[in-house]
Symmetry: C2
Subunit: 169 residues, 2 copies
Amino acid sequence: MKSNKHPTNFPSADHDHRRCVASALDKAESYCAAQGVRLTKLRHRVLELIWASHRPVGAYDLLQQLTLEGHKAAPPTIYRSLDFLLNNGLIHRINSLNAYVGCEHPGLDHAAQFFICGACGQAAELDDARIESAIIGHAKRIGFTIERKTIEVSGTCANCQDQQRDRQG
Amino acid sequence: MKSNKHPTNFPSADHDHRRCVASALDKAESYCAAQGVRLTKLRHRVLELIWASHRPVGAYDLLQQLTLEGHKAAPPTIYRSLDFLLNNGLIHRINSLNAYVGCEHPGLDHAAQFFICGACGQAAELDDARIESAIIGHAKRIGFTIERKTIEVSGTCANCQDQQRDRQG
DNA sequence: ATAGCAAATGTTATAATATAACGTAACATA
DNA sequence: TATGTTACGTTATATTATAACATTTGCTAT
């Protein structure tokens, strides 16, 4: 039995990947056009690969994909694209995994908090106001000026817990 | 002028390093004795070096220190000690820096949240109940079981901001 | 004390992640 | 189309971390 009792940002197993990837790429194209920055073929493809995987993916995994596609790529190729995508807020880096994941709200001001499921490998991006304000509040109290935040919570998502229960009877 | 208006976990510039290191090592010794695990010479020395630096320190920095001291050390030497110290809660790993820092509350159950100053390089360990409960609350709402949390906020601490202001007049 | 075992460390090699430096190609625009 | 800038290709190397196996150390039971 599949539980729907929890609202979650984890994509359901049966959602339409293709539409979801296409939509992300559309948004990215609009955003880059609006900003006057160039979402080149390579950058576009890298972003597409990241979204297609639908979970945090390593730089060298991407490199391998490109190589399989006949693109003669070396590490700098991929890291430069990743830098561009990071700088333009189109992807996030998951520090605890050394991996990269598509940003769900490119162009919008948002906190990037991640719940990462070790079972399915998926990362849900949140913008929880209470987490955000608790952090900002603490920073204010100690007079700390925030530049970057890394909020990554690892564990097991509701779907995967259900599946584990199902398997065990 | 030095500001004291902010309560903070950042050690003041004039605090007594030596006492602070000694105290951390004492605690570590008691803790290991109580747990029946062995804080060997090597592990003790690694922990001492981490505390002495008083900011997050990289594995290869530690390695270099040991080498300078005449210890013929290779990477596994240091990583094994780091693993031991991590597993026993005597240090934390700062994912956003690939670096290790002494734990301020070994043996106690606590959230490990870090505010990391890019200017002085120091990392303040917090246990802010509101941050913690905001995260736990969100996890509950989405049915997520938490295993590990990485909460790292980078920026500039109050002391360093004061100093920057002083320099600029 | 010492034989035997487990834990810790030494040693060599290599994996995984990331960047430096410099040359070439593509693109924008005057 | 000349010109400058941005992106990309290419080679080399830096940085962080682990695998695999040999040796030593220290604990425990006799």
